[in-house]
Symmetry: C2
Subunit: 604 residues, 2 copies
């Protein structure tokens, strides 16, 4: 009847609504198009090809974002390309580099040897059958007159269970509140999950033995609505229905993961009695359905940052009827519960010496511990390390250039899975800049050396080629431009300036730092030597730089297994002094100094 947009290669169809952008239509239809800036027309990530049908002509934003070889008109920016009123269907091809794909995820992380002292208690109970001489209720025959608290949906499970298991059950309680009735002998389970902006890492744990039964990684499905935190917050604030969608796609995915892990482990999701998700403050708010308008605007405050427990059922999560969801506290608007979990996993509370913790991302959370004190800040590093605003930037997925070295007089690249190159991810960009600096193709302020044979030039544009057209998946060259390098300079300067200011707050020098801990997926894939070479990190000996992987997930597991860790998290967060970088008088100055691509010790 009316015309449709047909998305290739999936073949998915959606109504072609005149005036709506191809990106909007794709999001509405659940078609994954990478859109790091969330449709603002700044990142250029949502490149598509319009194979047939009528759309608005190329606009100036697109012309600014497209490379010369893309400017034949078939490559378009999806957020800028709108449907026009027509009877014809529009066929759109989503190139592999634009599809939102499963990122290389990381569920490993330091394992945890915390003592098993969960928040729940298990009681094996039995009662007599009712009779004409004992017509007390099932619950009263089981528990007498003891004063337990319980919700109706929990109690609704008791009577059939008692009758199916010869008047025996295993009761799970949290303090005086009954959380679940389980079949006799059933182990209560916990689910810990690191809710990252791009990836989810889940752990199914037996709360009776402490054993991890299953682990799984997955993509955060909110990616279809915007790749970074700010674009999702902006979307949620534009449209309350989208805020609910952001919550529900995440809940659905967590339910899918729990179901999958329970199947793998041969257990029932009904035995999950506690869930501990940790995420940054935006993920935390979106998951719990908390309002985010105040979080997306200066001064970026959370609705709530304290720890709490809330009903899993009320959120739509699977689990026992009374299962609780526990979140540790967030520190501030951009230092979330995941950072707290990471600090717990790193035993930051009891570590000697001076330690700098970095979790690099769109916002880089940085903590410094020294003399039992904590300082923390969030550096606005932007999405460049995740591939946004970089000509051929992409996340660390199949085909991403992840390592760059200098060999036989030229740049050599390694891609993830050795696939034909699709683009370049953050660790590749850092390597590349380090190599270009080492070979003096780049100067310390980020300019290409004039006349160097590697450097291409067309008008204002300058770039080096990382992979020739014939070696790439799209058949077009992959490059790193002067502009791309500028993006990375700004990102790394924000991080280094943040670190520096924390060190100053602690009345220390960078040379006093004993250990740098790099947490998170990105931190574990970068080459610390390259990171030092471009001045992203202070110049510590490499053996003092530790890459600990997904420590937030490990921290979530600790919070699940040991209630004492929750008290530790509370104590730690109370002691953390948050430094607001944008408001800090010296931030601009430190930022300017940190722009230079030098492995300089920053000592006064």
């Amino acid at each position: 009847m009316s015309s449709q947009v047909i998305f290739q290669p999936s073949g998915k169809r959606a109504a072609a609504i005149p005036g709506e952008s191809i990106l909007d239509i794709a999001q509405g239809a659940g078609v994954g198009i990478s859109a790091i800036c969330g449709g603002a027309g700044t990142c250029g990530n949502c490149r598509i090809r319009v194979l047939s049908g009528s759309v608005t002509p190329l606009n100036d934003i697109e012309i600014g974002l497209l490379y010369p070889w893309e400017a034949d008109g078939s490559v378009r920016i999806a957020c800028q390309t709108q449907v026009v009123d027509t009877d014809d269907d529009i066929v759109v091809d989503i190139p592999r580099e634009t599809q939102t794909v499963a990122q290389r995820s990381q569920v490993e992380g330091g394992d945890t040897d915390v003592a098993l002292e969960p928040s729940i208690q298990v009681y094996d109970l039995s009662c007599t059958a009712p009779s004409v001489t004992d017509v007390r209720g099932d619950w009263e025959r089981l528990a007498g007159d003891e004063g337990w608290l319980f919700d109706a949906p929990v109690m609704a499970t008791l009577s059939p269970l008692l009758r199916a298991h010869n008047w025996r059950t295993r009761m799970v309680a949290q303090g005086e509140r009954v959380v679940a009735f389980l079949p006799p002998g059933t182990a209560p389970l916990g689910f810990a999950v690191d809710v990252g902006t791009t990836g989810l890492a889940g752990y199914l744990v037996n709360l009776e033995t402490g054993e991890t039964l299953s682990t799984v990684g997955a993509t955060n499905p909110q990616i279809a609505f915007g790749e970074d935190v700010m674009s999702r917050l902006a979307l949620a604030n534009r449209d309350p229905a989208r805020a609910r969608s952001l919550q529900s796609v995440l809940i659905d995915e967590l339910n899918r993961l729990m179901t999958l892990m329970c199947e793998q482990a041969g257990v029932s999701t009904d035995a999950i009695v506690e869930i501990v998700p940790v995420g940054n403050t935006a993920m935390h708010h979106l998951l719990f359905g908390l309002p985010v308008s105040q979080l997306g605007l200066a001064p970026y405050v959370p609705a709530v940052s304290s720890e709490f427990s809330t009903s899993a059922r009320a959120l739509g999560l699977l689990g026992a009827a009374g299962a609780q969801v526990y979140t540790p506290p967030c520190v501030a608007g951009f230092v979330g519960a995941d950072h707290v979990a990471m600090l717990l996993a790193s035993e930051a509370g009891s570590r000697a010496g001076v330690t700098l913790y970095l979790d690099i991302g769109t916002n880089t959370e940085i903590s410094l511990t020294a003399r039992g004190q904590h300082w923390a800040c969030s550096a606005p590093s932007g999405p460049a390390f995740e591939g946004a605003k970089i000509s051929h930037g992409m996340r660390a997925a199949d085909g991403a250039i992840e390592r760059v070295v200098w060999l036989d007089g030229r740049l050599r690249c390694r891609t993830i899975h050795d696939s034909p190159a699709v683009g370049i991810c953050g660790s590749g960009v850092i390597d590349c800049i380090a190599v270009l600096r080492e070979q003096d193709v780049l100067n310390p302020v980020g300019g290409f050396r004039r006349g160097h044979p590697l450097v291409m030039r067309e008008g204002e544009r300058q770039w080096v080629v990382l992979a020739e057209a014939e070696a790439t998946h799209s058949g077009r060259p992959i490059v790193l431009s002067r502009h791309d390098i500028g993006q990375i300079q700004m990102a790394k300067a924000a991080i280094r300036a943040g670190s520096k200011l924390l060190v100053e707050m602690a009345e220390l020098h960078e040379s006093d730092i004993d250990t740098i801990v790099l947490a998170g997926a990105f931190g574990s894939y970068i080459d610390p030597a390259s990171a030092v070479a471009i001045g992203l990190l202070p110049p510590l000996p490499l053996e003092q730089i530790h890459q600990i992987g997904n420590a937030a997930g490990t921290g979530a597991k600790r919070l699940l297994l040991n209630e004492g860790e929750r008290a530790a998290a509370r104590r730690m967060v109370r002691r953390i002094q948050v430094v607001e970088l944008p408001a800090h008088a010296d931030f601009k100055d430190r930022f300017s100094q940190a722009l230079r691509l030098l492995p300089t010790p920053w000592d006064e």
Copy 2:
């Protein structure tokens, strides 16, 4: 396409599924047909007229239930009449006496002068706006680091409220748990409701002043699924989907009442912070979604009888995000929370002397208090007083004969609203039997006097005419038969036998009773003189018989207004000794003695 059943007078349509009964189809379509026995083919209440279309022929059950003047084939019993495979539509007329109509309800009841000490506490709070120098969360700026407990949906309401009301809010808590954030100056509200098997009586209360803002009565919409408790339990146990329907129609109706009352009072349902429903054990279980299979089968035990509080939101009830539903304890499978509420309203805990409490219904709850001790039982009085199994029985709705007197040598009837007679309700039947006994038309064992001019006879059938054809709504006579009188004898014998056994348990005589308290709608409409005359009640002077109306609703209000009443309810229920009549060795004997229609003192 396929044929339909068209219900008149409403004109509602539903698919005509061959093999399904007209009653099933009506229930599925939400068309109210009175079906006291729930479709078992025993009550004969679901009389309809099939105006056109093909249905199964009259069966033996119908022939047994229909009167001679109905046997022309157009009057049918809906639960026995099945659709046959046909292309024609079936047009069914539901006569007024078969429509489930709003029963005369009673929301009044003794008022309550209990002190105002609700379970909730109100805190008027304010905070500063966030700034770059104070980026704490909204909740942390409001409440500091105080250790309150809250669920995510409650906290989700805070940030927009603070911004709309100049950083002020009214917080409502129950102990250490936050229940709601309200706009400044908003009074927290409570909703108390008596959930009767047939009627609902709701009260909207201001928890800050104790004032009752609005009261409303309505029919329990579960009536469409069966008029008495046992038929609804049987339905719920046959089909879990119907159990959920029984819960959801009730929840929907309670939500409708809350919305209506809040509109009347000019307040918001979001300000309702606590709901106290009281009902018999079956209504209690169906409302809370508790399993009922063990409640519908001997020895009839509740899943749970203790008091509890549970989330309103989780049940689907309106109210503040954290609103709680509190239920006082039930006593036993057939002595429910409503009876406890009635005893509270009657201040049974502190009453001097010997008091007998009766709440007459399908199951009649009876309590005796003496010397600070309590005994209770449930007498299986059956639905005769509610009009079931009585030829022209009906509930106390428009057109029901509610009073019968002897005047100028004949029976004179008064109907509700003086409408043309539709049928006879319980109070009318009791009056009628008392009059027939007084005039010696009936003997004490319930037989009609041979040859009395009032008594009609055809074969085995004997009846007296209460209203001639020309004075009734249907144009057919309304009668009371020998069989009807037998039903009433059994009902009243069960009640009197139960009372007698409680008196015996207390080692007292009926003559020791100081007061009889008649609770509930039915108890307030019967004529105590008639009830004594037919031996339903022990022969006390009429001034010692108190009709207190809907005291269960009053008790619910007390539980809402004063938390101390909850402790009183707990204490009372712990002290109540439940007597299981069916299991009691002397019940059959006392029942047989009580069958006689005599105002005899039962003293030994």
